[in-house]
Each structure stands twice: as C-alpha cells, then as structure tokens.
Subunit: 340 residues, 2 copies
C-alpha cells in the first residue's frame, strides 16, 4: 500500500487531511493548491487525487464535490505525523500544576484527569482506573451495620478502596467480626486477588460461626478484587461531542452515548489498549464496533505494566490527531509520575 505513495502524493494527502480537519468540508484541488505549497497546478493535484481515490485513501461524497479522507487516509496521516508534541510548554506546565494541587485520592485524580483531557482536546475523555486484580491488599475492614449485616472494605497498596455488603445467615456480633477482621488482615496482607482465591479454597466449610463469617467476608473480598470492574471507567464531557458538526444528527450520537454509558462495554473497548506500548490511535472502523464507526479513539496507558490504567479521548474521525495524541501522552506520563 504505502509503497504506492510517492512523496508528492503523500504531501497531497497530508494537505487534504489537514484542510479537511480544519474546514470539515470536502476539499477540492484548487483549495489545496491555494493554501498549501505543493508546487504544482490544480490539474496535477486532480490526477493525484484520482490516484489516491483509486487506492482508497479518500473518497467523493458525490461526483461534483471535493474529497474527504477515508479511515485509511487518516491512518496514513496519523502514522506520518506521529512524533512531536504540539502542546505548548505553557499547556504542559498547566497540566502539571493542576495535578500538584490535588490531595491525590485516586478517584479524585481520575475525575480531574477526565476534566483535564476534555478541556485540552474538546473531545470526550475516557479514564479507566487501574484494575484491582493486580493490586495488593493493604487493609481489610469489617464494619457491623446490623445483627446480620456488615460492610467489607478493602484498601489496596495503591490507595484504591472497594467495598461490599455482606449478609450473614446467623446473627454475628461485633466481637466475631473484629476477630475475623484481624485474622484476615494478618492472612491477606500484601496479597493479590488470585492469592485470596487460594486462601478461600484452603478454609474448610465448618459450622463454626467464626469460620462461616470468615468465608462470607472472603467471598466479598474476592468479589472486590476480581470482579469489581464495571465502575472502573469514567467518561467525561460527552456534551463536547454534540458541538461537533458531524453529530448534528442525534441518531448518530445515540449508539455512541449508549456505549459510553455502559461501563462494561467500555472496558471491552479498552481491553486491547493494555497490550500497546505507546499511545494507540484507532480510527473509525478500526474500532470494530458499530457505535464507534464514526469516531476515533486515542488512548494510552499510565502506571506500570501490571497496576496501570488507561486514559484516552474519543472524538470525530476528523479529529486533531497530533494534538489528541500529544495530550493523551502528556496526561498519561503525568499520571504515571504521580502514582509511581
């Protein structure tokens, strides 16, 4: 594919993408020659455009209109302009100071991140907190809420807090609970989710109140550490999308909005970002998701391999990719620093 792209043809494509990103309107040969120094005439550009259309990088909405980049066209553009931060030093500085003021409680940091990212890009921010699966237990609290009810709170070494209610079959008084709590704290300290699973398997089912309570609490701890995923994803500034001209039609926004509202589905969308080293750009169909067909997704990881999360933005395929990529990168790096 890319072999067919001689330098001038690539220059034409790049110019066309840039122009389309700016104007959001089909771009013609004349406009390109006028506004970009391509060093040739409209007629030549036209033949290049025809070739680019042949190769599938651009298309015409109708015969007498200009050209619009296809997903593959954007792809070439993105791969080409990969490097170089386009954020001003001032902007980067502003991001840093913004985080410095925070007391750094994890959910606060996530929320702030979402605000920062959407302010920076004007697109929808997506922030996923680190999964608890790879976190280590630092503290377990079992708080009685009634004769047969208690709340299990798990704190990890990362400062994450998860909690679950437990209902006991029999009355279970506060003394028992504090024994259970002490026992589990001794047992589970520093352990990860799969370790807890093994501990649970090691505890025999017995009739003793203490053991049964321990088992019930353990179940909830496991639930916290292994299955507590759906509320990990935070999306911010969906309203920003509506300002984009391509979402003038509410029918186009709805599936997207539904997806964004569904934390579990979003996690699925995010899942393969974890395996990518650098900032990942997925354009339109590359998302393999109907709701994301007309948008692009720029995402990056923060934190270290195991205990990291994801930040990203979702905007129209006609997004300002250099800026989006740079923003995601800076924010991800800043988060890594803060949390590391």
């Amino acid at each position: 594919m890319a072999a067919e792209l001689n330098p001038r043809r690539k220059a034409v494509l790049t110019a066309l993408v840039e122009e389309y990103i700016k104007s959001v309107q089909p771009v013609g040969s004349k406009a390109l020659v006028d506004r970009y120094s391509l060093g040739c005439s409209p007629a030549t550009v036209r033949s290049e455009l025809a070739a680019l259309e042949e190769t599938g990088y651009i298309y015409q909405p109708h015969v007498s209109a200009g050209r619009i980049p296809t997903d593959s066209g954007y792809r070439v553009f993105v791969d080409d302009v990969a490097g170089g931060s386009v954020l001003s030093a001032g902007e980067v500085e502003a991001i840093h100071t913004r985080y410095e003021r925070l007391e750094r409680e994890l959910t606060d940091v996530m929320r702030e991140t979402s605000v920062v990212l959407s302010a920076l890009t004007n697109y929808v921010a997506v922030v996923a907190a680190p999964t608890l699966r790879r976190a280590r237990i630092r503290r377990i609290s079992v708080v009685s809420l009634g004769p047969r009810r208690a709340l299990v709170v798990v704190v990890t070494d990362f400062g994450q807090v998860a909690n679950r209610a437990v209902d006991f079959d029999h009355d279970t008084d506060a003394t028992v609970l504090s024994d259970v709590e002490a026992y589990l704290n001794g047992m589970l300290d520093g352990m990860m989710g799969d370790g807890v699973l093994q501990v649970r398997d090691g505890v025999a089912e017995e009739c003793d109140v203490r053991v049964r309570a321990t088992l019930r609490v353990l179940d909830e701890v496991i639930d916290c550490m292994v299955e507590a995923d759906e509320d990990r994803v935070l999306t911010g500034s969906v309203s920003a999308l509506l300002a984009q001209p391509e979402f003038a039609d509410p029918g186009a926004v709805r599936p997207l909005l539904e997806l964004l509202e569904d934390g579990l589905s979003m996690l699925r969308v995010l899942s393969d970002v974890m395996s990518s080293r650098d900032v990942l750009v997925r354009i339109g169909h590359e998302n393999h998701n109907d709701a994301l067909e007309r948008v692009s997704f720029v995402a990056g990881r923060y934190g270290d391999g195991d205990s990291g999360g994801i930040v990203g933005v979702i905007g129209p395929t006609r997004m300002d990719y250099p800026r989006a990529v740079a923003s995601v990168r800076v924010v991800a790096d800043t988060l890594s620093d803060i949390l590391g």
Copy 2:
C-alpha cells in the same frame, strides 16, 4: 386561575394534553372530538380552545395549526391526575424482586435504581445518595500508603464509604497511624459531621507527631463528612433523551447534557426537593434553570427526613406524567423500605 376552568373546559384541556403527549403534534378541535367523548361539536371545542389560549394554558405555534399545552397547561393536568398508580401490579412486583437480589451495598443500590427508573420511564434517571452530613460515623480506618502518605476511610452507620488521601509533613510510621486510628474510633464513634468539627476544635495544635497526624486525619474526616457532595449524584440513560423527538436538535440537548454532567449543579437543582413531602413535579420554566427550560423533572425523596436521598426522572415537558410520578413514587418507597 383555576376558578375559570369550568368542567368542560378542563375536560378539553385534559384531552388535549393527553393527545399531545401521545402524538407530539399540535392538536386540533376535530381530533379532540373524534378521539375523546367530549359531547360537543368541533366548533364548541374551538371556542373552548380559544378561551384556554386566552388564559395561557395552551398556545398555537402558528395561526393555522392545532394547539400545544404550555407549562401551565401541563401544570393543571398534573395537579388534576395526581392520584392513582398507573403501574401494573406486575411492574411493581418486578421492581421489588429486582432489588431483593441485590447485596445492598449502597452504590450498587444507587446504580440499580438509576437503571430501574430509566427502564420504567424511558427518561433520564437522577439518583442522589443520602448526604453524609447527617450520617453517623461507624468506623475510621487509617491505612499507610508510604512514609508520609496514608488513606483515611470513613464508614457510616448507613454503609456509606468515603475516603481521602492525607499527606503528612513528617514521616509518620504505621504504629502512630494505628494509635491515631484507635483514638479516633473511640472518640468519633456515632458522631455526625458537626460533632467532628467540635472535636477538631478541641485538639490543641502541638508539635507532637501523634497530635499533628491526628489533626491531619481529622481534617480529612471532616472533609468526607461535610464537603463530599459532588459525587453524590448519579445520572443514567441520558441516551434515552436523544430518542425523544423534541431533542432532534443537538443544540437543544447540549446545555442539558452539560448540566447533567455537573454533579454540583445537579445538587443545586435537587436541593429544594428535600423540603417537599410528596413526589414533586417541576415543569419547564418552573425549574428556574435555562438548561431545564424544555424538560420536566419528577422527583421524590427516599429514606427518612435526615438521612434520605432523592430519586427522579428528567424527560420532555411532554412526558407521561402519571407514569413518571407513579414510577418515582414506587421506586422511592421501595428504597425507603430497603434502607430503613
């Protein structure tokens, strides 16, 4: 105002509102006579319509069109049909069983409530968790996260969990933290936010590490109990709004979406619901908020006076009020039962 409404005129208004809610199109005299047994001719209905328009209950978008209810028109309708659940016994049953399956951790209950309400009405659900101001402290955990960092977790008698990070000026080891934790648990158990404030005032500023750490932790506890409000509001199913024909114009949805995304602003909107005994209906301009000008808000309280929260739905002014009111009422009552 209402004095001018003789029975037939009121019947005409009610029929018109019902018809408009169904058809979402201006309603004419003929349609009313055809579909509702008003016992008179179109001509008579026309004179009633003219009178209703005079009084401001309905209006014409243009001279040769049918009538549309104004906010005051809806108001009369709502006040009139106040009573009587329109939910089927099956639906009510379904709601109850749905909650029974839950393990009843507060945020799960809130999330589920949002899902139930939007499924029931097809409008946007709004759920506010009980404020922490009136909750009593049940447990405080102070978990070390580093030499100068710790996490403060507060659990209330209601099962709510709030947490804050603390940064200490000096290295503060785990022994000190567990002393502080024990001290505070003894001191603050059963206390509400204002009580904690007094305790804080009673602790003298000293150089002792323990006292300083205690003060820092106390500050965070206070923050949890008194200021932790912005994340209390949960909105669900915003995408449902986009399905409504009146939001075909994305310009109309944006301010609303922005409001819904802003927890603090939403709290302000909800604030006066707390003072209303029964389910509250606010129609269009009655919301005194530009973003809510074209929608209605149906909300009710759950839980008891002090430790209650709010549930509600937001939909177009042309909403199915009887159903919305009934849904909110049933859900609020169910929540009160569960949590009480």
